[in-house]
Symmetry: C2
Subunit: 207 residues, 2 copies
């Protein structure tokens, strides 16, 4: 559909709770709509431009905005003077440039990485994908890498820990509350959905 203020391209950003299937939903939606899909491609592009390793960038953009800062106390702490902080800031600046370029180039789905905020001037459709914790635990088990044997408690901790990182990262760079529905146009609960089957229905929102 058209938003009140029309946009040039059809750009869909997807925020998501860990284990909710947001990435699958984003990828399938892009396939169905036959538009570009950006997720790990963003990290690859940052790596190319900054000469940092993809693994390092993944840690920076997916987790904590200042993951490698030393523990310091009170007034003696000045992040601006810290070289690690400067790197994370320049990674974010590069990410901002890349995401804007991607959105200007063609219709696309962009997963995570504060894209909803970075692109706010062009008013993308902003999705947030979430699910009950039980559903997310089941989903994570079904997709666990071979050899990973977590208990329910450990899996729950892993899920909440990844979300905590996303939340901190998002809130640090946007000043908005991560997962607060007011920052999104549509929030989709996947607990009772088979994502593959749901896509043709969800895609109509963006006709």
């Amino acid at each position: 559909m058209q938003a009140k203020e029309s946009i040039l391209n059809k750009v869909i950003t997807v925020g998501r709770q860990f284990g909710s299937g947001g990435r699958e939903l984003g990828r399938r939606l892009a396939d169905y709509l036959q538009i570009a899909y950006y997720d790990k491609e963003i990290v690859e592009e940052i790596a190319k431009r900054t000469q940092l390793s993809e693994e390092y960038i993944h840690n920076v953009v997916e987790h904590h905005p200042y993951p490698l800062l030393p523990i310091t106390i009170g007034r003696s702490f000045n992040p601006m003077g810290n070289p690690m902080f400067q790197i994370t800031q320049s990674v974010y600046a590069e990410q901002t440039r890349i995401i804007k370029e991607m959105a200007e180039t063609s219709d696309c789905v962009i997963v995570g990485r504060c894209a909803d905020y970075i692109l706010r001037d062009i008013k993308p459709w902003r999705l947030f994908v979430y699910a009950d914790l039980d559903a997310r635990i089941r989903r994570c088990y079904a997709r666990a890498p071979e050899g990973e044997h977590l208990t329910d408690k450990e899996m729950k901790q892993k899920i909440l820990s990844v979300d905590k990182g996303r939340q901190k990262y998002y809130e640090f760079y946007t000043g908005n509350k991560w997962g607060d529905m007011t920052n999104y146009d549509f929030c989709i609960n996947t607990s009772n959905l088979i994502i593959k089957d749901a896509i043709p229905h969800i895609a109509h929102l963006f006709d």
Copy 2:
């Protein structure tokens, strides 16, 4: 679309922030899907069955779960012995029966009144409709009854006060947090939507 666990009828419940256009969205969705729409009809039916006035019931079901209780203190307060409390409880019991009957009879859209919770066993599609406060203020002005001249501040207070009532009522009877996305399948932000134009797109979710 089908939920994982299929349901007998297509039942859609609509929770909504005041001024978000949730009622309009629900009514238009029912029209578009050619299914029944229940909103004030529920109050009318309760009135018929309980012999209470519609206005009184509206106050009970839309606002506070115990609006007419006297102010009492600490241990001396026993709501069960209070006749007004008993009336509000019996209104809720009647409402529960009516909503279940409606959902069993035919496909329908039901707006408000804890229907998502009351019908949880048949797993309805649960919508929550919301919008930015600014958008809600604009909407309320556009629909204000003739002769109502509220300032922005007064309109904001009115909106927040109605929502507070809905929240208290919902939380009292369901034990769930009103407007918490985990209790809904889809949350729709109407701030940037023209509801009339959005309906054919939203309706596809329930094909």
